[in-house]
């Protein structure tokens, strides 16, 4: 059954500051879509709008979950997560004084994820053997790369259909960025997820993205239908890569 996300004509901001201007984008079933842009262009704001953390001033955001289409605007964050949309937030937002396992178990708070908690925990540990080794360790005492794995694992524990990932590469060493991006691809295939990933590391994101959008000053500046189109676009080279 299909899972997809459609954002249309969204305007949003903080107080009198407008951040997003007339943003439209879509993520099709089982697609990985990259939202590309440098700092301060509105990627995180877009993610917040989808998750109900910020209410757009206009526009529509709808999600199709297991074939059922739903309007997301006006719903609380908890309701949206309950529907089956999970966000791996920027800065990871783990519970630093709880253990790795406690963080993962909390991920399954969503009512429909509670039944499958044992199976999901197993597949989490299988995907991230490192987390299993460290399951009794406090989350805050782990390295940045391990914390990012835990943040991904915690989101997966809610058994989502649509996964939003905000800047998975932030604060990680280049080798870890590459590993994290590879893991996202693996997870997406393993769990049949529909993925929207905001990222400023263009080259890494484009490696696993089916399509991508480039966001500049809160507007979609370019839509690339595949990695080649993104790589070879003049706008991307000028605005984004600074070439």
């Amino acid at each position: 059954m299909a899972n997809s996300l459609a954002i249309s004509g969204v305007n949003a901001g903080y107080g009198s500051v407008r951040v997003l201007e007339n943003i439209s984008l879509s993520v099709g079933h089982a697609e990985t879509v990259a939202l590309l842009g440098t700092n301060g262009n509105g990627k995180s704001t877009m993610m917040k709008c989808v998750m109900g953390l910020l209410r757009p001033t206009s526009g529509t955001i709808t999600a199709e979950i297991d074939g059922e289409r739903m309007d997301l605007i006006g719903r609380s964050t908890e309701e949206i997560v309950d529907l089956g949309i999970a966000l791996v937030p920027e800065g990871r937002r783990l519970f630093p004084k709880l253990t790795v396992e406690e963080n993962l178990l909390l991920g399954a708070f969503r009512k429909s994820a509670r039944g499958a908690i044992a199976a999901n925990l197993d597949s989490c540990y299988e995907t991230f053997p490192r987390l299993k080794e460290r399951r009794r360790q406090l989350a805050g005492s782990m390295s940045g790369g391990e914390q990012q794995m835990l943040a991904l694992g915690r989101a997966l524990m809610s058994a989502p259909r649509i996964l939003l990932i905000d800047e998975p590469s932030v604060g990680l060493a280049p080798i870890l960025v590459q590993r994290t991006i590879d893991k996202i691809k693996e997870l997406k295939e393993r769990f049949g997820l529909t993925v929207l990933m905001a990222e400023q590391n263009f080259n890494q994101a484009v490696r696993i993205a089916d399509r991508g959008y480039v966001i500049v000053h809160g507007q979609i500046a370019f839509e690339g239908r595949d990695a080649d189109e993104l790589n070879n676009n003049e706008l991307v080279r000028k605005f984004y890569l600074g070439l």
Binding site: E78, L87, R93, P96, L105, L138
Partner: protein, 290 residues
Amino acid sequence: MISFDLLINAIVAGVLLGGFYAAVSVGITISFGMLDIANIAQPAFILLGSYAAYIFNSAFHIDPILVGVVMTPIFFMIGIAVYRLYYYCFEMRNEQAIQGLAFFFGLLFVAEVSLILVFGVDYRFVEAPYIGPSLHFGMFDLPLRMLIPCVISLAMIGALQLYLSRSFIGRAILAVSQDGGALQLIAANPTRIKEIAFGISIATCALAGTFLIIIQPVEPSIGRDYIGRIFAICVLGGMTSFPGMVGAAMLIGVAESITATFYGPSWAPAVAFGFLLAVLAVRPAGLAGR
């Protein structure tokens, strides 16, 4: 010369006292340690529990502990109501730091004065078959009025520990003060979680208050003696850990009991707080701080 018999009995009495201290401190470990709510009115709710036991015991001769058990869900609802008031008046506007403290301070005084108006300043007590007798094992002397509260207190804390570590809401309670916003991302409403946790912290006062009036006669201002003590136990135990809190309660109980036995009761609080300072100097996170 310190008598060995006296010392052993002082330690045993201290452990039993510590079990009771754990019951009065468990609520603060939840509200102050886990939720960051400095509920200094906690002793007022404990006294409310004492007086509830007194009312039903003196009027209908109902067993005080049974009254405590029956009052627990009612206290839970009172806790939820108090948290909602606190949330809408202060926490929602981010004014909890000073004004919230004043709110609980005021609540403490209003409760104390109300109790004086209704019951007067006389000492009140309850009657139950286990208040007089003691068990004797060789040189040990176990008064039932101390032993029974200690045992039930430890059982209550054990049950709460299981609830916090095994249930989804329990785990969310452990997480809520670390990052309430992140709880929303796992489909939990942080305000609802705090409300339940605060309800539980007040619910424990029903039994803790019952234990208090079983152990000693109660008058309205007696709650003040416990403000410092329960916060000290919570901090000494490491803020969020029940096993740490129980250990701290036992240590303070034993320290107070030994001091009271050998040097006189007036030194007991000084020794307990001196002990707290010494432990925090060596282990700033408390006995079991994470």
